[in-house]
Amino acid sequence: MSEPLGRVVATERRPNTPHEFHFWTALDSPVGIGTIVRVEGANPVNGQIPRVYGIVVEGFSYTDLQSPMHDVLGHDGSPASAGYSVTERAEIRLYSAAVLRQIPDEPLQPVPMGEVHLADENDVAVALRMDGYLREEANTGIPIGVYRAGATDSVIYLDADFLLGPEAAHLNISGMSGLATKTSAVEWLLASIFAHFPESKGSVAAVCFNVKGPDLCFLDQPGHLDDRDRELYDKMRVSGTPFEKVQYFAPYTAKGFSLNTLRSNEALLHNVTPLTWGLREVLKYAEVLLNRDDIDAKADALIDFISERVVGRVFEKDNYLSRDHTVESFGDLEDWFRDLLRGLEKGNAESWRTHHIATIRKVRNRLTNISTRCAGLVTDTGTVSDLPFGSFEDRMVYVVDVATLEEDAQDLIFARVVSKLREHLERRDLGVKHLIVFVDELNKYAPSDGQDTYVRKMLLDIAERGRYLGLVLFSAQQFRSQVHRRVVGNSGTSLFGRMDADELATPGYSVLTPATRTKLATLEKGQLMVRHPHFTQPIFVRFPRPAVMLGRDGVERYPQATESELDVAIYRSLRQLDSSITLPWVQKIVALYDEPEILRARDATRRAKPANVMAYFESQFRKIIPSEPAIAAAAATREVTRAVRSLPMDDPYGF
């Protein structure tokens, strides 16, 4: 048994209780706030020597000085002369510890007087009740970090049943921007989950929304680790390598030529998939983009009518429609509206199928506007490129990059992706059994105040019901106090990096002692305070840097591709499928057709991923016999002008 480092003390003024005790130590003891200790009782209770585990939550130091004035007098008011005193005053280090666990559990008594020892690795496991889920036959431990005190270096495990369900679920992380390393902590924890999530519990994947900067854009690229990081990776048996399976999704820019992501460097485009939706995908989530004024009951009824009776089927002509319509895209919808309104105006009618003409005009305005507001994501043509719902892979990270999008587009993406995930998980056909959704900047998406939004309702729904489906929310924010209480309250596990002092002054942190709050305000990078259902008190741990490239390093090493001309954008895009494709070949085709037609062909080719990319791409166009001089002229002026589309030789209107 180790040497005792302290002794339990109690006075009438400061007695010990079943949940708190006090002890003193030598001045040079390695005890500090967050240190886990073990108390060995002296007298048996029911034939068993009590053993109490606690974590230091407060520290005191004082001397036998009764008044500061005595010290001033003793040194004649000169602080410099204090150093000449031949004797140091008697001094005490007194600590208060919160009880983590008592053995035996019953009867629950005040902590007895006894020797205090530094907890060793086994003690830490018992103190935090990790022994219950680290059994060899049923190990559900997920390493979150290493607890360090003195010579003790102990891995702290979270219980997968309480992190990813079904017992409890969800994780929330708070901390100051740039200092709390929130994103790093989540990247590390995902790697740890992928390495340790028990096979018996099924498959697991993650969908991460990259909401700011290049944070999550280089998860498949190796980052810089030092020896201390590698040591931590080895100790926690997690490979210090980047994620093997990562798939990126990003919408196009408004022009539609290149992807709207910081991961647009040609060297990294192999696993970046465009994210584009058409009318059918968006209409169901129109509520996300339309405010309350837009969707009164009348407008809502018309949108429902369009959604159910117009889109995706043949809508036959009537008194006001001049022809049959098949609405598959925003372009088709616009044609339908235009035809209908023209008919109504012509017939001088005020309503159509109980819908007033003003309502029809309003809905037309709002709906057709969506493709403009979310240009790059929502296409007029109806082209769809989506996450692989139904074929999600185990241990795969799907990153949806919305960092550079407008707020409307971000909300739409978030709402639709999460809804689809939920639908598939309910039907058990997503492809994986457990799915982690990581959302940063939760202050913005689920604020504690402000009007109720579709996105906030969805986040609340995941937080409250997701664990039954295997849909787990990992969320992060700077100010926990500004996030909806039901979202953070339903997070079984909470992590805290370095915290802002103002935030710590809010009521939510009043359960922590002043010393613990001070420690939180001064945490180093790579340190976290962990709250987990099995831990009766928060624990401080250290975690390694994630083994992935930092966002800022990534953008330096792989600069974002500049917005290019159409031909170069098509060339870059198709080369991901066939590296033998050349720019002149692309230019030759681009010179012949309209921009929408070319983009549609590109999208179709990327979606199909054919064996013969060039043949497939060419087959997407109507047959045109190009005029050779026109091609040559177009190629020659490519640098300075837009492509001049050549005409068929037999075009009667050609000049």
């Binding site: 000085l65 031949v86 140091e88």
Partner: protein
């Protein structure tokens, strides 16, 4: 107390058991027998400014006693007393217990057996019972007056405490090579009084060696000054060299503020040694021994030892 028929418990009076409050001897002036020069004079040994000299003391010896009259048996006080002594040593400027000899703590009944006829044999033969009814060196028995019996018990308790202190001081000079700061006189033991390793520091001045012209010199000592050395030879005790040191300035205070008397063995280099020891004693004035009421004269090492004894006894 079943061994004492008719005994009745009593409540302690305020300050009963505190030897400092029981000194009935009137303060006296005595003529100093100067051994350093012709007459008593002031000698500066340290600057009076804030910069304090260093100290050569390694250990601090002090004793404590607590006395309680726990019963009266037929008008005879039954005293229960605890006497203790300890040495604290200074290592790296911090005080810790001396490892060579454990602190001594003894608890006893002080009973004048000749006046307690009904005392049972078990208690009478208990080694913890000290008979305070025996005749003194002149063969006289103590009076049956309860106050006289209590005074006799107090004297015996004080003797026992001094015995513990002397034992520790003797152990120190046998085993250590560095000087020991003794709280009080060192004249009780030949070995201690003649050792260069023991220095006694007396804070009370019931007997002030300052009769005649010496009085002005002693009360006029300024901070950082000492008096000439003189010889002190109490009856039935060992002679030592002694001198006064003003540890703190007494401006605006009473005449004895910050004044201590130092006792040390006679040596050939007495003047030099007196200077050196005086500087050490002055240095021990920091940090202050507050909140002890004798802080002006007490060294912090002695206060620490007193606190230690309070904790263990």
């Amino acid at each position: 107390m079943a061994e004492l028929p008719g005994a009745s418990a009593v409540e302690l009076g305020q300050n009963e058991g505190d030897p400092r409050s029981r000194n009935d001897q009137p303060p006296v002036l005595a003529a100093p027998s100067v051994i350093e020069g012709e007459t008593l004079r002031a000698i500066r040994v340290a600057p009076d400014a804030a910069a304090r000299p260093t100290s050569g003391f390694y250990g601090f010896l002090d004793g404590a006693q607590s006395v309680h009259v726990v019963n009266h048996c037929g008008g005879v006080p039954i005293v229960w007393a605890t006497v203790s002594a300890a040495v604290r040593v200074r290592e790296n400027r911090r005080l810790i217990a001396w490892r060579n000899r454990a602190p001594a703590v003894e608890r006893r009944f002080y009973v004048p057996l000749r006046y307690v006829e009904d005392m049972g044999p078990t208690l009478r033969d208990d080694p913890r019972v000290v008979d305070t009814g025996r005749p003194d060196s002149s063969g006289a028995f103590p009076s049956r007056h309860p106050a006289a019996l209590l005074e006799r018990a107090m004297q015996k308790v004080q003797q026992d405490r001094e015995t513990l202190e002397q034992r520790l001081a003797e152990a120190w000079i046998e085993t250590e090579k560095s000087p020991l700061y003794v709280d009080g006189s060192i004249t009780g033991s030949d070995a201690v009084a003649s050792s260069r390793l023991a220095v006694g520091v007396i804070k009370s001045h019931n007997t002030l060696y300052a009769e005649g012209d010496a009085f002005r010199v002693v009360v006029g000592l300024e901070a950082g000054e000492r008096s000439s050395a003189f010889r002190v030879a109490p009856r039935s005790r060992c002679p030592v060299a002694s001198w006064y040191v003003r540890v703190r300035g007494a401006a605006g205070r009473d005449a004895l503020f910050g004044l201590v008397r130092v006792e040390a063995a006679f040596t050939d280099d007495l003047a030099v040694r007196a200077d050196e020891i005086s500087r050490w004693v002055i240095a021990e004035g920091s940090p202050l021994a507050l909140p002890d009421g004798r802080w002006d004269k007490m060294s912090y090492g002695i206060r620490d030892t007193e606190e230690f004894l309070r904790a263990i006894s």
